[in-house]
């Protein structure tokens, strides 16, 4: 099986879908001739022509708004927001239009659009290239929210998202584009080319939305996380030598409640980790779901490890980023309770 980076896997997913379905169109800032600032769409315009893959003005409301109009008329747009931090001008279009068109029209119209965007930090991007805005979307009924953390999942989930009948926010942890990252920024960069999770099947395959992935099996504690933090959590678990179960949620809306609940019932302990800011973050929602369903199985309070409630900093990035140290402290605390 070939190895791919996450960028190559995403590109391959779009390539496969452009080939399979002539209703698929791809557009966004710099995605056409140039192939995207992260190169996710490189070569696609040349291969499929500019009616299928094209550039847009710097106007996120146009990117999403045009996509909504096209989707309602039967096309399958897969659009790129250059950074998740730039999505806010399209927030009205996403939350009040894309998310509601099916419901408010009593299914006369629907909106099968995929909105891709690089998310998360760890790239010295400062406050406008590092944000993790997933909770702003998981709060909206009618949307689906996906965040893969491996090339294999990136391709299979993007294909599933592009086949889905409803709007999907597709978050791509940009720190993982070229290789896994364990939180140690001083260590040499790793590549997906040498990693088992960098193996990506050729051709078409879809990973169902709404299903979590068991990243590592264990009995002592359940770690619920997604995106870049999956690998940071794994490194912390290795450091402590814990028999932890790591669940890569990958579908943030809807959550895979059955998998989450089954794991916490088994382990009786739970830590939730994300890069996004803490207050009203997704961890709060996950913890509420867990305690509602698993309270009598819990042997310790659930702890969350998150980004701090401050704008994402530039020079202080590694003070902000929830690294191995903070995760180890949380795990130790949960295990000692």
């Amino acid at each position: 099986m070939p190895h791919m980076t996450m960028i190559e896997a995403l590109r391959d997913a779009m390539d496969v879908m452009l080939e399979r379905d002539d209703k698929v169109v791809i557009f966004g800032e710099d995605v056409g001739y140039f192939g995207g600032v992260f190169r996710c769409t490189a070569g696609l315009q040349k291969k499929f022509g500019e009616e299928r893959v094209f550039d847009t003005p710097i106007n996120e409301s146009a990117i999403v708004g045009l996509g909504i109009g096209m989707a309602a008329q039967g096309m399958k747009p897969c659009v790129e927001i250059q950074f998740a931090d730039y999505v806010y001008p399209a927030y009205d279009q996403i939350t009040q239009e894309a998310a509601r068109i099916r419901h408010r029209s009593n299914e006369q119209f629907s909106c099968p659009i995929v909105i891709r965007m690089p998310t998360g930090g760890g790239i010295y991007g400062g406050q406008t290239h590092s944000q993790s805005p997933e909770a702003l979307f998981t709060h909206v009924a009618g949307l689906k929210v996906v965040e893969p953390c491996t090339p294999h999942d990136a391709k299979g989930l993007l294909i599933a998202a592009m086949q889905d009948p409803d709007p999907v926010i597709f978050l791509e942890p940009k720190r993982l584009y070229n290789g896994p990252f364990n939180g140690d920024h001083a260590a040499p960069a790793q590549s997906w080319k040498a990693h088992p999770l960098g193996e990506v099947p050729e051709g078409h395959y879809a990973i169902p939305l709404g299903k979590a992935r068991l990243h590592r099996e264990g009995d002592a504690v359940t770690i619920l996380t997604y995106g870049t933090m999956v690998f940071v959590a794994e490194a912390a678990v290795d450091r402590l030598g814990l028999d932890a179960e790591i669940i890569d949620l990958r579908s943030l809306l809807p959550l895979d409640l059955e998998t989450i609940e089954a794991s916490v019932r088994k382990t009786g302990r739970c830590v939730v980790i994300h890069e996004a800011t803490r207050t009203s973050g997704l961890a709060g929602e996950i913890i509420a779901c867990v305690q509602e369903a698993c309270f009598y199985h819990l042997e310790a309070p659930i702890i969350r490890v998150t980004g701090w409630d401050a704008p994402y900093p530039h020079a202080q990035e590694w003070d902000y980023f929830p690294g191995q140290e903070r995760i180890c402290r949380a795990l130790t605390s949960v295990m000692e309770s």
């Binding site: 209703k23 169109v25 009616e51 847009t56 003005p57 106007n59 409301s61 146009a62 708004g65 045009l66 996509g67 909504i68 109009g69 096209m70 989707a71 309602a72 008329q73 039967g74 096309m75 001008p89 009205d92 279009q93 009040q96 239009e97 509601r100 068109i101 099916r102 419901h103 408010r104 029209s105 009593n106 299914e107 006369q108 119209f109 629907s110 009924a141 009618g142 689906k144 009948p165 409803d166 709404g210 809807p254 959550l255 409640l257 059955e258």
Partner: protein
């Protein structure tokens, strides 16, 4: 040191208690403006975007190049237009009364603006799609939409095709070329452009039609729509209904130091026309031209329909608090129903007596439908659609967390 700048704040010509004053409204004579080539460019539209296309003169006679372009519509077409406008007005009057009686939560009238939607709809074909505002039931009425559904949506009862999910007048009727309306403003101008792009990309001959009010031209998405139409040149007609008032805000606030809304489009490289929206024949003529241009592959166009919002913004609004009570009567471009009626009478195709008969007939028809629809429930006699219905269609397939919430609701 003192600043040399002083801020400007737009004010309407008259406030409550003052005499209505439209003396500053610049109205050229009917029939003076030329009909441009279908592939006209923005640079050749400066006069058309800044002046006002009129077909009916003050005596109700069609004059000038746009009248010639339109030709002489047959009497039945115009009588249908008159009937559509009268139906729209009867519905508006009766629905506002019903709202005042507490039978529904909310209503939005379109009195004074009927000609725009009623005449425009006549140029559309099956498969064309309007992206309307909330003040455009005229598009549905002229398009033959069943009145049971129209009123059912307003009463949110079993006749409502949208199961009570939307505020009254926020209709959706795909089969009648009417996109689902959102209460936030401007967003759907962009959808019209995207829909039109999809038509072009998939080889469909149909066109899309965007609608926005003068107040909402201030929204980001008005500019996004114009820019997108300019960038990709899809088959879309973009309309601005300039009815002078954005709730209580005078149109001059949104217009700023621009002269007209139509002229906004010229900067984006889009041809634009400005038209007397209370002149049914002018709406017919310009709509014919615009839809021919767009269907012919010559690209998008923007039309500003110049009109006046006679009623309140909505049933929740009281315009006597911000404009003279009799301002509508002073509107220099008259009433669209009265003007078409006089034109038909002048043609010998209508009479005062026939008009009175038609009014009675339309009223009887609306009253009959209203009785039937009200029997299925009003706010005074609620027969609500079951609450569990709100969970259907949030997604194509209901996910686990919503299934659990439905159980929690107890159904």
């Amino acid at each position: 040191m003192r600043s040399n700048s002083k801020l400007s704040f737009a004010h309407p010509p008259a406030r409550p208690g003052e005499k209505p004053d439209f003396s500053a409204v610049d109205i050229p004579p009917a029939g003076v403006l030329a009909v441009p080539a279908l592939d006209v460019t923005a640079t050749d539209c400066i006069e058309l975007a800044n002046s006002l296309i009129r077909v009916l003169d003050d005596d109700g006679r069609p004059v000038g190049p746009w009248a010639d372009y339109l030709g002489t519509p047959d009497a039945e077409t115009l009588r249908t237009g008159l009937s559509d406008m009268m139906t729209s007005r009867v519905i508006d009057t009766r629905m506002l009364n019903a709202q005042r009686q507490g039978k529904m939560s909310f209503y939005i009238q379109q009195i004074g603006e009927e000609a725009i939607g009623c005449a425009f709809q006549q140029a559309l074909r099956p498969g064309d799609m309007n992206f309307p505002t909330y003040r455009q039931q005229s598009l549905l009425i002229a398009g033959g939409y069943p009145l049971e559904k129209l009123l059912g949506q307003i009463y949110s009862n079993a006749y409502d095709p949208l199961l009570g999910r939307q505020l009254p007048t926020l209709h959706s009727a795909r089969e009648h070329g009417f996109f689902t309306i959102s209460g936030n403003l401007g967003t759907q101008y962009v959808h019209a452009v995207g829909w039109a792009m999809a038509n072009a990309l998939t080889g469909k001959e149909n066109i899309a039609v965007g609608w926005i009010g003068d107040g909402s031209t201030a929204s980001n998405d008005f500019h996004t729509g114009l820019l997108s139409a300019s960038s990709y040149w899809p088959p879309v007609v973009l309309n601005v209904v300039n009815n002078q008032w954005a709730i209580s805000t005078y149109t001059g606030v949104a217009r700023g130091h621009g002269r007209t809304y139509a002229a906004r489009a010229l900067g984006y490289g889009l041809p634009a026309l400005r038209v007397d929206g209370n002149d049914y024949l002018a709406v017919m003529a310009v709509t014919k031209w615009a839809t021919e241009r767009v269907r012919g592959g010559h690209g998008p166009v923007l039309i500003e329909w110049y009109t006046y919002r006679v009623g309140a913004h909505s049933s929740s609004d009281d315009p006597s608090a911000y404009r003279p009570k009799d301002e509508a009567k002073a509107w220099p471009l008259g009433d669209p129903i009265e003007r078409l009626k006089q034109h038909l009478i002048a043609r010998g195709d209508w009479s005062e007596q026939r008009h009175i008969q038609a009014e009675a007939q339309i009223l009887a028809e609306v009253v009959e439908v209203q009785r039937r629809v009200e029997a299925a429930g009003t706010l005074l006699d609620p027969q609500p659609i079951p609450g569990a219905s709100i969970f259907k269609g949030v997604y194509a397939d209901t996910p686990e967390h919503i299934r659990r919430q439905r159980q929690e609701m107890g159904v």
